[in-house]
């Protein structure tokens, strides 16, 4: 059985309400169309403060401030049941929830082309704040106050008004801008560059946390596979890449290289499978799978939140990172012999997709639905999606899995609700597209394995490929993570003795039949 060890994981959030209320896809469209002034005017009244975001249980679950088990037991709605102060800290076991001003500083630090200008006093203030973040390197702090990235507000204003820049805001005032990267190239507009730099910066934050969480020296990281939603390129190659290497550079991983994997929301799961295969084969010593978050997804459903008088919760750019090492028998393992694959010919019916991603790989491995302690499909927070009419996505997914289990006679129909409760997962991820796609559970799931509470969980990602207008197909992939085997993967390969035992067994069977 080919397998890799899951050494460590990191999950971070960057609070970005002001950036989101200007450049999130929905608010931006409303602002530019000029047709939805009522919504645009109302949105600021629905934003939550950083303190509210810190006290919001799904956010703390994402960064590991509270355990997944505790999260499951909390009273809902989470908006009305804020966590107590001692559980609402900036830093969790997996990562942090960074305030927006520091995020703007980090974005500036990740800029190599003088594209981000910050007003000098703002840049100075946020660099001092970032210096107190134990995960941010000294080099990054210094980059925030590079003279070439600091310009007074008059120059910033001119850049926005005369050369298509975009303002960056803090406390309702412009504190900087992202400049246009080219006078005519549509792939290098200030808007595209803001999205890409924010994706890069949030990816850097997740990678920095991963390095600390794992104890791996930045210089020892071999390879990065990045799997966010953004496309970085120019008019000659619209999504040429490479976020992975750009992120590794800022994080000081001088001996690493990297590449990007995309697939809409199925990107992270495919990236995990790619990385695992490379580590298991020995092609790479170790790999960090990393994804930064998405500015366009901020406040995606806020029209409905505003309409229904709710808090607009989609205010965080999400990121994650997972470190894979060769399986030495001590770490939770990702199996490469049980991979769900949604084939071209499988069809798009939910039944076909669910079967391809759960039943078929489990059956091939001699496992059944009940052998999987937890299924982690799309983990969107339902307090975000339900008011927008998208329902409770993780619950809908586990219901489908349970119904399929009943059809396959793995679960009694009378036990369907019990199966849903015991084997499902409650969503706690921001609607960042790729981020909710199963991978937020890798951290909590591995913790549960390490605590001996579960033996196995399945991560499922599905992607809406049809959005790109290339095909009507969707995509999906899945994999299993299991408890450590206690022995290195190499020792589980077939040995001479195994072959001898098999031959003897076969011969005795033949002998039995002859008798």
């Amino acid at each position: 059985m080919a397998s890799v060890g899951i050494k460590s994981y990191a999950y971070c959030l960057n609070h970005a309400p002001e950036t989101g209320s200007y450049y999130g896809g929905t608010p931006h469209e409303a602002r530019t169309s000029g047709k939805e002034q009522e919504y645009v005017d109302a949105l600021p009244k629905h934003l939550q403060t950083y303190d509210q975001a810190l006290h919001y249980a799904p956010n703390q679950t994402y960064i590991g401030g509270i355990s997944y088990e505790e999260f499951e037991s909390l009273a809902t709605p989470w908006t009305d049941n804020p966590l107590p102060d001692e559980k609402a800290q900036r830093y969790g076991k997996f990562g942090e929830l960074m305030p927006e001003d520091e995020f703007l500083g980090l974005i500036s630090a990740c800029d190599e082309f003088e594209l981000v200008w910050l007003e000098p006093s703002f840049a100075q203030a946020v660099s001092e704040k970032l210096a107190k973040d134990p995960f941010i390197t000294e080099a990054i702090v210094k980059r925030v106050v590079r003279p070439k990235n600091m310009h007074d507000i008059a120059e910033i204003k001119a850049e926005v008004e005369e050369r298509d820049g975009l303002y960056l805001y803090h406390d309702g005032k412009p504190v900087g801008c992202v400049r246009s990267g080219h006078p005519t190239d549509p792939c290098l507009t200030s808007h595209v560059l803001l999205e890409n730099l924010a994706g890069k910066a949030s990816g850097v934050l997740a990678l920095l946390h991963l390095l600390k969480n794992s104890g791996l020296d930045a210089k020892d990281l071999d390879f990065v596979i990045e799997c966010s939603e953004e496309g970085a390129g120019d008019v000659g190659q619209r999504a040429g890449g490479n976020f992975a290497k750009a992120i590794a550079e800022v994080a000081g991983c001088v001996n690493a290289s990297g590449c990007d994997v995309r697939g809409f929301c199925a990107g992270p799961v495919n990236a995990m499978i790619n990385a695992a295969a490379q580590v298991a084969s020995g092609a790479r010593k170790n790999i960090a799978v990393v994804a930064g978050g998405s500015i366009p997804k901020l406040y995606m459903n806020s029209r409905d939140h505003v309409k229904k008088g709710l808090r607009a919760l989609e205010d965080c750019v999400g990121s994650f990172a997972v470190l894979m090492l060769p399986d030495d028998g001590t770490m939770p393992v990702m199996r490469l012999d049980v991979l769900g694959k949604h084939t071209v010919g499988a069809g798009g019916a939910p039944q076909a997709v669910t079967s391809a991603l759960t039943f078929e790989p489990l059956q091939a491995a001699g496992l059944t639905f009940a052998d999987v302690d937890r299924f982690a499909p799309e983990l969107q927070n339902h307090e975000i999606t339900e008011p927008a009419g998208a329902g409770n996505v993780p619950l809908a997914n586990i219901k489908m899995i349970a119904a399929l289990a009943v059809m396959k006679k793995a679960v009694e129909k009378a036990d369907m609700m019990k199966f849903i409760k015991e084997h499902g997962t409650v969503g706690f991820a921001h609607t960042q597209g790729h981020i909710p796609a199963g991978v937020p559970f890798i951290g909590p799931g591995c913790e549960l394995i390490n605590e001996g509470k579960i033996k196995r969980f399945m991560v499922i990602g599905k992607g809406s490929l049809f959005l790109a207008r290339l095909t009507n197909l969707a995509d999906g992939a899945s994999f299993l993570i299991e408890a450590p085997t206690g022995k290195p993967a190499s020792s589980s390969a077939v040995t001479k003795d195994d072959v001898k035992a098999l031959i003897l067994e076969a011969l005795s069977e033949v002998a039995g039949k002859l008798n």
């Binding site: 069809g347 019916a349 939910p350 039944q351 076909a352 669910t354 009419g389 329902g391 809908a396 219901k399 489908m400 349970a402 119904a403 399929l404 009943v406 059809m407 369907m416």
Partner: protein
Amino acid sequence: MDLQNQQRVKDAADKYGTDCVVILGSSDAEGAEIYAETVTAGDPTYAGPLAGVSLGLPVYHVFDPIIRAECDPAAWEEQISMMEMVLEPDALAEAVKGMREQYSKNVIE
């Protein structure tokens, strides 16, 4: 209903009139009702090509017994039976029926 699908339905209705049957697969009753309204009375959100256009098409949810009876049982078992267990088929069919009875100019007999 997204704008492209509204256009597709409009194009089909232009060609086939009210002989064009719309079958919905929406998983929630509220959505199914809005889609049914869109292809009968017109787009209630006034955002798409069917805003102010009352096509009056016969519209059914795939879980409506009339549609179910038309389907190949083997294909139904393979493609739809799982979702039948997960969703509330009767409520979905009823939600669409309400709109059909009010606004459709034709029905399957």
